[in-house]
Amino acid sequence: MQKKIIEFTNLLRKSGIRVSVAEGIDAFNALDELSLDDREVFQDALRAAMVKRGDEIPTFDELFGLFWSGFYDNLKDAFSDMEGDLGEMGVDLEQLLSQLAEMMQNMEGDLDLGELAQALLTQNLSELENMIRAAAEEAGTGRIENMLQVGFFSRRTTEQLGLEGAQQDLEALTERLRAMGVGEEGIQQMQELIRKLMETVRRTVRNFTERELQQQNHNYMEKFRREMLTEKSFYHLTEDEIQRMREVVARLAQRIKNILSIRKKRLKRGKLDLHQTLRRNMARGGIPFEVVYKTRRKDRPKLVIMCDVSSSVANVSRFMLQFMYSLQEAFTKIRCYVFVAELGEVTDVFNDKEVNSAVEKALDGGDVINVYTRSNFGFAFHEFWKNHLSAIDKKTTVIILGDARNNYNDAKAWCVRDIQNKAKNVVWLNPESPSAWGFGDSVMDKYMPYCDIVEECRNLRQLSKVVDQIVL
């Protein structure tokens, strides 16, 4: 049992659920307190001790089903099937085995039966299960990755199990029985039994390997899916993935917020924190040598975001906006502009609406701009320069999101230069890969000299890296 729980713990870890050693020990202790007849209670106990996140519970439940569905039961089914088959052929398995046992006791000389052959003849299934598990481990079945390997690992497991040897043992036994004068009918029954036993063992081993594959595959699939989402290019997201991505973005944003709250430091001036001051100065008889203030440091950047919302970069803009919306508290002020050719401010939309509808509304132009035109970065920046330059001061970080595909219009890079002169820094996120910058109608090369940070931002991992840089 212990071994199986450790195995299960490893499986959980492989699937991305973090289970510490202490939690494993808790699980053991918990099981000591409970009767294990009730599968549900068993599952609940393991879950309470090992799984500490709400969103990991479904994975746990699935793996639990896979792991604990009882290979032993499978084995039992296979052997009772075999008994039925033999019965149809007129062989009473129980009777045959007990006769055999009796004869074996009376046999002269050493009877050289291997462990496996013995387990098979005595129908010791739990022993057999252990042997199959050990053999599978030796054969490295844990490394199985796809369907095509089932045959290979099954064969290796049977080899490790020493099935051939067991067959020889049993055949040798049959020969001795013949020598002892057992009739032809008995010998035939015996041969039939051996054939069936071999077949059943092979089948259960294959079954075991397939289950192993399922378990391993689960980790694989799960990991694959997660990696996919953060690595997947924003250009190729399906509707469903956009939905799921929202959750991922929300989680990432939450993580950054947590880090931020830890890093807040107390200020050196502001409102006096009487409690803390007295407490801190107890050692000096309550005379406040050391003064503590309530106010905490607010080193929060101002943010101006300019998002290209033309269809080619809409997805990047979507998640960027969601990120920034979720992180509002991290900034003193966020102003948000969208553009295709015209440029409009959508900050109000963010103040009034909840996150998803706000983002969608902004992507739709927020009633202020026409999104069904051709991109013109130069025009948009010029508009900003004319009407909104006052939004920028020396504490402001400006984030520009766009592919800089300007449809051969005038780039007006000097607008970006002026913006950079006024701002703390200018960050440009481009969803295209750097090799494409400056080719065709891309004017990225014209803007680049006036940006402090230029990053490729094609998937969630890159996006969160950039956000980390800006916020922390």
Binding site: S20, A30, E33, L34, V41, D44, G54, R255, K257, H275
Partner: protein
């Protein structure tokens, strides 16, 4: 004292709290292993209630610590009673002079006073706050740390000592070990994720919205006069509403409120009018109410149409009954 998982279910049910095996298992384990329980789940599914009920069932005193942003150890653990200390110094001035009378030098006097300084830093001058109370209580208590996710991360770190060793360290006095180990429940609404260190020390319990069957049982228990059929309908509708994409999904407490409201209005079945009049009992945002209204009126119309098609002859009887009620 709980004797088994089934016993937990039974005893909690005696306290009017219906729970499933999952909850019972964790509660039982918490008692057997002396481990704190971190209870998470959506708002209003009975996390705090669980702690209260367990305290009642075990006959323990419940000590509650409500967490909020800015909660610090002075408010959670202990505080020195400065004024009392000062007062004592004033009153005992003579005694102090007596102590140092006859001392040969200043150093000698300081030593003499120093020998007595434990007087002023003793438990006499400590105001115990909830955590301290729970630990120093003679009888075993139940400590509820409510909405721990609302507290600052620093506070969380400070909880660790208490949760793993059931002891607190006061620099001036030393370490105080629990006289009796309290049973600890922490609740969290997932406003932020708790640190791994904290989670590792706790058993984890995720309470979700209950199954329909369980929710009907809860309704039946908590709102005794409710008609069985009405209860079922209410629960069905609630589950429908929970599937909608709402800003605040209603939970069990809302179901109970709603059932009580319906009873107060003498409604014996869910009609379009009654439902839309009482929707604001369960939904707290105008946008949500709108969404739910559309969905529900569709559902109820369909239902009444089905019912009418099934038993047309019974319709007049139902109408007559309604006449009496109104």
């Amino acid at each position: 004292m709980f004797h088994s998982v089934e016993d937990v279910i039974q005893q909690l049910s005696d306290q009017q709290y219906i729970c499933d095996k999952q909850i019972a298992t964790v509660v039982y384990l918490a008692q057997q292993l002396d481990k704190p329980v971190l209870v998470e789940g959506p708002a209003g599914v009975g996390k705090t209630e669980l702690a209260k009920v367990v305290a009642k069932a075990l006959g323990r005193e419940m000590i509650r610590l409500q967490c909020y942003e800015g909660l610090d150890e002075a408010k959670a653990l202990y505080e020195w009673e400065y004024s009392k200390q000062l007062l004592y110094t004033q009153i005992l001035k003579d005694k102090v002079s007596e102590t140092i009378a006859g001392s040969q030098s200043l150093a000698d006097a300081a030593d003499r006073v120093g020998r007595e300084d434990s007087v002023f830093f003793s438990s006499k001058f400590i105001v115990p706050r909830p955590l301290m109370q729970a630990i120093s209580s003679e009888k075993p208590t139940l400590l509820l740390i409510d909405e721990v996710d609302k507290s600052d991360p620093e506070f969380e770190a400070f909880l660790l000592e208490i949760l793993s060793d059931f002891q607190v360290t006061i620099p001036e006095i030393g370490t105080i070990k629990a006289k009796s180990q309290p049973l600890v429940f922490l609740t969290s609404n997932d406003a932020r994720e708790m640190s791994d260190a904290l989670k590792r020390r706790c058993l984890h319990l995720w309470i979700d919205y209950p199954s329909e069957e369980l929710e009907v049982q809860i309704l039946d228990r908590k709102v005794p006069n409710i008609d069985k059929r009405l209860a079922e309908e209410v629960v069905q509708l609630m589950n429908r509403i929970r599937d909608l994409d709402l800003k605040k999904t209603p939970s069990i407490s809302e179901t109970l409120d709603w059932a009580r409201a319906l009873l107060a209005l003498n409604a014996d079945e869910l009609e379009d009018q009654v439902v839309s009049d009482t929707l604001n009992v369960i939904l707290k945002y105008e946008g949500d109410v709108q969404k739910a209204q559309n969905e529900l009126s569709k559902l109820i119309q369909k239902k009444t149409a089905e019912a009418a098609a099934e038993k047309p002859q019974q319709a007049p009887a139902a109408a007559a009954k309604k006449g009496i009620l109104h």
